[in-house]
Subunit: 158 residues, 2 copies
DNA sequence: ATTAACGTTTACGTATACGTGAGGGTTGTG
DNA sequence: CACAACCCTCACGTATACGTAAACGTTAAT
């Protein structure tokens, strides 16, 4: 009677196709990202199947966001992820010392990287907003026209 | 005494290399965009040199913005430009009639296209802002750490 | 144990967005 | 009119980001 049985006991790992479906990617893309060093699966099965955990999926979601939403190239994404990795390493370095001077250097470095990431994204947003502004100005003029027509006018706004 | 003479009498037309330098594009890109139907030069010289006017340059600037800033593919840009062309045609159709019903139809169509453009851009912005938000949250935590360290603390925020 | 469904590596194919000549005209300045 | 500096049209080359198929191994259910 079991047509589609529950895929085993909800293991903490997902296989590549399961990840792909969940994120709307192809298995090829995921393997390709791995080839480029953007991520590597948390584990491999005995038969060397790639096994992904939650943080892998988060990372992939982030990559997909940067690619689809921001339009970054995989090279740029690689750079952003390396900054991210440097950030994590510096967190570890931070907790390895309790010398305030060393800690300060570490935090200052981390701040610089985060500010760089932030600036890259903000620049993109600003330029996008300039474009949206132009489009919405047209939208307002058209809406005014429509309102005028519906009020019995000629639609000759301005 | 004229070392670099004024490039003739400021003709209203620019040649391809002049346009390219001004916009930070290559001549190849400009020709390629023409190949894809994204624009065509306002005129050709007797010897069939491409000659661009101010509106051509505006159009190219728009294309470059969509490509660099928004990360749109040239296919998507083509779509947005076709919407733009439809908008211009509908403006003409609008002024060809004074029947309020016809005018209303035209304006409604134009509104739909503009809203589509706007929505595409806004979606992109929204997703970018979500990413920025995450980055800035980290930035705030780091800044707090730094402030704590500079105030003689341990930098152990939270 | 069998077997369908899925995974692995390897490798060649493809669409996009140009780069880079080749071979040959065009412009405009001396 | 000579000639450097552009421009033209092919046309092939290249980097990126995957698609697709071959040949073969793994998993898991029956």
């Amino acid at each position: 009677m079991s047509v589609t049985p529950p895929r085993s006991t909800e293991a903490p790992f997902l296989k590549i196709q399961e990840v792909a479906s969940e994120l709307g990617l192809t298995t090829r893309s995921i393997r390709y990202y791995e080839e480029l060093g953007l991520l590597s699966p948390a584990a491999r099965s005995d038969g060397s199947y790639r096994l992904y955990d939650a943080s892998d999926i988060e990372r992939l979601r982030f990559i997909k966001g940067l690619r689809d939403d921001a339009g970054f190239s995989l090279a740029e994404i690689s750079q952003l992820l390396e900054d991210e990795a440097a950030r994590v390493r510096s967190r570890e370095a931070f907790s390895q010392t309790d010398d305030p001077a060393e800690r300060r250097d570490i935090v200052v470095g981390a701040l610089a990287r985060v500010e760089r990431q932030s600036r890259i994204l903000r620049e993109k947003i600003n330029r996008l907003e300039t474009m949206v502004e132009a489009v919405e100005a047209r939208h307002r003029r058209l809406a005014a026209r429509l309102a005028d027509l519906d009020a019995g006018g000629t639609g000759e706004v301005r």
